[in-house]
C-alpha cells in the first residue's frame, strides 16, 4: 500500500471500504454472465479486489446487469435492485443494456435500461471480456472517489419518474412503491 492509498484510507475510510469490497449480487440476467465465472475464478480472480458474488441482494452493493433485459427479467431486476442496501452501484454490461444491442427490435427486451433503474456505468461490447469487467471496476472506484457513483441517490430523487416508467412496461407491480416521493426528496435534501 503506497502512501497515497494510506492517506485516502485515513481521510475517507468509508469510501475506501466501499471501493474495495464490491460484493456483486449474483443474477445472471443475460448472456454477459458467461464471462463472470472466469472473472471470479482462478484465471482472473476478482476476489483480489474484494469482488465476490453474494447469495442475496441484501448482502450486495454491486449489481452487474449482464446483458439484454427481457420484460420478465426487468421485473426481477427492479425487485432485486430495490432490495439492495444503499449505497449500491449498478454496472450495465454489454451493448444490449445501452441501446438494445443486437435485440433492438425484439418485442420482449427493453432497449434502454437506464429508463427503468439508474446505471452508474456501462461496459461496451458484445461480449465484454473479463478484462473489461476489471476496467469497469477500476472506473467505478474512480467514480466512488469523486462521489459520482450516485445512482442510488438519483433513484431516490426521481423515484416517481422511475416508478412511472416501470409501470408503463410492467403494468401493475406486485409490491408497493418503496419510497414515498416526498419522503425521498426530504431524505435527499437532508443528506445532500
Amino acid at each position: 500500500m503506497d502512501r497515497n492509498q494510506l492517506m485516502k484510507w485515513i481521510k475517507a475510510p468509508t469510501k475506501m471500504a466501499h471501493k474495495y469490497s464490491l460484493n456483486a449480487v449474483y443474477f445472471c440476467t443475460g448472456c454477459g454472465v458467461i464471462e463472470v465465472p472466469p472473472t471470479i475464478t482462478s484465471r482472473w480472480d476478482a476476489e483480489r479486489f474484494g469482488v465476490v458474488p453474494t447469495a442475496t441482494a441484501r448482502q450486495a452493493n454491486l449489481f452487474l446487469i449482464t446483458g439484454y433485459v427481457s420484460v420478465k427479467t426487468l421485473r426481477a431486476i427492479i425487485r432485486t435492485y430495490e432490495q439492495m442496501p444503499e449505497p449500491k452501484y449498478t454496472v450495465g454490461f454489454g451493448s444490449c443494456t445501452i441501446n438494445g444491442g443486437m435485440y433492438w427490435d425484439s418485442y420482449n427486451t427493453i432497449n434502454q435500461l437506464d429508463k427503468y433503474i439508474p446505471i452508474d456505468g456501462y461496459i461496451a461490447g458484445c461480449m465484454p471480456r473479463p478484462e473489461a469487467i476489471f476496467v469497469a471496476v477500476t472506473h467505478l472506484w474512480t467514480l466512488i472517489d469523486k462521489d459520482m457513483a450516485d445512482g442510488y441517490k438519483r433513484y431516490r430523487k426521481n423515484y416517481a419518474a422511475y416508478r412511472a416508467n416501470q409501470e408503463m412496461i410492467l403494468g401493475e407491480m406486485e409490491w408497493p412503491p418503496i419510497f414515498q416521493t416526498e419522503v425521498a426528496t426530504a431524505i435527499t435534501e437532508r443528506e445532500g
Partner: protein, 365 residues
C-alpha cells in the same frame, strides 16, 4: 397446513442462467416443481425471420452462450441443405475439431456449474481455468472468446493458422494431464459420490418418453448419439466410442460428461492425424442478395448437452420464413426436470438441474 412456495431462481446462487423453478415444498421434500422459463426470451426465431440468411449468423450463436458453436453449425447445416451447398472435405475435419473443442469447453463449464452447486469451489475453479485455456485457442482461431462465428455456409471462415494444431495439442495435453487430479478430488471422492449417487434418478423409459437426449439418456445406458446415428461433418471418418453409464442418476450423468470430454480430446487427436489438405471454403453467392429456393429442412447435430435440431423453412426469399430450434435443454428443463424434482430434497435442486446441464437461454430462445 400451510403450503410453502420456494423460488429457486432467477436471483439465486444455485441457478446458472436466468431461469426459475417454483417449488412446492413440504418439510425438505419437493411436492411439485414448476419450471418458469422466459426470463431470457428474446424471440430469436421471430427476429431471424426479419434478417437475411447471412445476417443471422451473428444472431444464431447467441442463443446458447455456453456452447455457441453448435448453434452456428446447425444453422450452417440447414442453410447448406436448403441451398444445396457442398462442403470441402478439409472443412468437414476442421468443423469437427472445432466442434469437439467447443464440446470440451462447454463440458468444463458444466463441470464448473455442477461442482459449484455442491459447494466444491476447488474443482469448479480448476474447471473454469481449464475452460479458459480452451477459450484462448478459440480466440487465436477466430478472434472471439465466447462468440466465434467461425462456421460458414460452405465451410469455415479460415483455415487453422500456422502452428495452431501444435498449440492445440499441447493445451489439450496439459488439460488431460489434470484428469487424474479431477478423478481423485472429484469423481472418486467418497463424499461427492455419496452426494450424487441415487439422486435425480431418471429411468430409461421416463427419459425416452419425455424426449430426453444427450447425457440424460446416455446415463441410462442408451447409446444414442447423433454423431453416430446420423453422422455429419467428419465424425464417420475416425473411430470413437459412445460412453454410457447405467444408473441414470446425477453421478452417472456427470461421469458421462467426464468420459465424453476425454473421448473428445482423443477424437481431436485422431481428426488431426486424418485431416486432408485442401480448401476449407466453397464460395456461396453474394450473401447480400442471396435467395435460397423454397423448401424445408430438418437437420440435427449432437451439441454438448444432446441432440440439437433445426427446422428451417424457406419461401424462396432473402430471409428465412420460419426457423425453429429443437434444443436439448427444452425437454430436459421443462419436462424431465419437473418430473425428477418431485420427491427430491431441496438441497438437491441445483445438483439435479446441473447434472442434466440445463441451460436457460436454450429453452427461452
Amino acid at each position: 397446513m400451510r403450503e410453502l412456495e420456494l423460488y429457486f431462481g432467477p436471483q439465486h446462487l444455485g441457478m446458472v442462467g436466468n431461469f426459475s423453478i417454483t417449488l412446492k415444498v413440504e418439510g425438505d421434500r419437493i411436492l411439485e416443481a414448476t419450471a418458469n422459463p422466459g426470463y431470457l426470451h428474446r424471440g430469436f426465431e421471430k427476429l431471424m425471420e426479419g434478417r437475411s440468411w447471412i445476417k443471422n449468423f451473428p444472431m444464431v450463436c447467441r442463443i446458447n452462450l455456453v456452447d455457441p458453436d453448435h448453434m452456428e453449425m446447425i444453422y450452417a447445416m440447414g442453410v447448406e441443405k436448403l441451398a444445396g451447398i457442398e462442403v470441402p472435405e478439409r472443412a468437414q475435419f476442421v468443423r469437427s475439431i472445432y466442434l469437439e473443442l467447443a464440446r470440451v469447453s462447454s463440458h468444463l463449464f458444466g463441470l464448473w456449474a455442477y461442482a459449484n452447486m455442491l459447494g466444491f469451489d476447488t474443482v469448479s475453479n480448476w474447471a473454469m481455468y481449464h475452460r479458459d485455456l480452451v477459450l484462448d485457442l478459440f480466440e487465436e482461431l477466430t478472434g472471439g472468446r465466447v462468440y466465434h462465428i467461425y462456421v460458414w455456409p460452405g465451410g469455415v471462415r479460415r483455415d487453422f493458422p500456422e502452428g495452431f494444431t501444435d498449440r492445440m495439442v499441447s493445451t489439450l495435453h496439459s488439460i488431460g494431464g489434470c484428469v487424474p487430479d479431477y478423478d481423485t478430488t472429484f469423481f472418486n471422492n467418497k463424499l461427492f459420490s455419496e452426494r450424487a449417487r441415487g439422486v435425480g434418478v431418471v429411468s430409461r423409459e421416463e427419459a425416452l418418453a419425455m424426449g430426453g437426449v444427450g447425457q440424460v439418456i446416455r446415463a441410462t445406458g442408451m447409446k444414442y448419439d447423433v454423431r453416430k446415428v446420423d453422422p455429419y461433418a467428419a465424425y464417420d471418418r475416425v473411430p470413437w466410442e459412445v460412453h454410457t453409464r447405467d444408473d441414470g442418476d446425477a453421478y452417472s450423468r456427470i461421469c458421462v460428461v467426464r468420459d465424453e470430454m476425454i473421448e473428445s480430446v482423443h477424437m481431436i487427436f485422431n481428426l488431426i492425424d486424418a485431416m486432408p489438405e485442401g480448401d476449407v471454403y466453397n464460395r456461396v453467392p453474394n450473401p447480400l442478395k442471396w435467395k435460397i429456393p423454397a423448401g424445408e429442412a430438418y437437420v440435427r447435430c449432437e451439441s454438448s448437452r444432446g441432440e440439437l435440431g433445426l427446422y428451417l423453412v424457406s419461401d424462396g426469399g432473402e430471409k428465412p420464413h420460419r426457423v425453429h430450434f429443437r434444443t436439448p435443454s427444452y425437454a430436459h428443463g421443462l419436462a424431465i426436470l419437473e418430473k425428477t424434482l418431485v420427491g427430491a430434497n431441496i438441497a438437491d435442486v441445483g445438483n439435479i438441474m446441473m447434472s442434466m446441464y440445463v441451460v436457460a437461454p436454450e429453452i427461452d430462445r
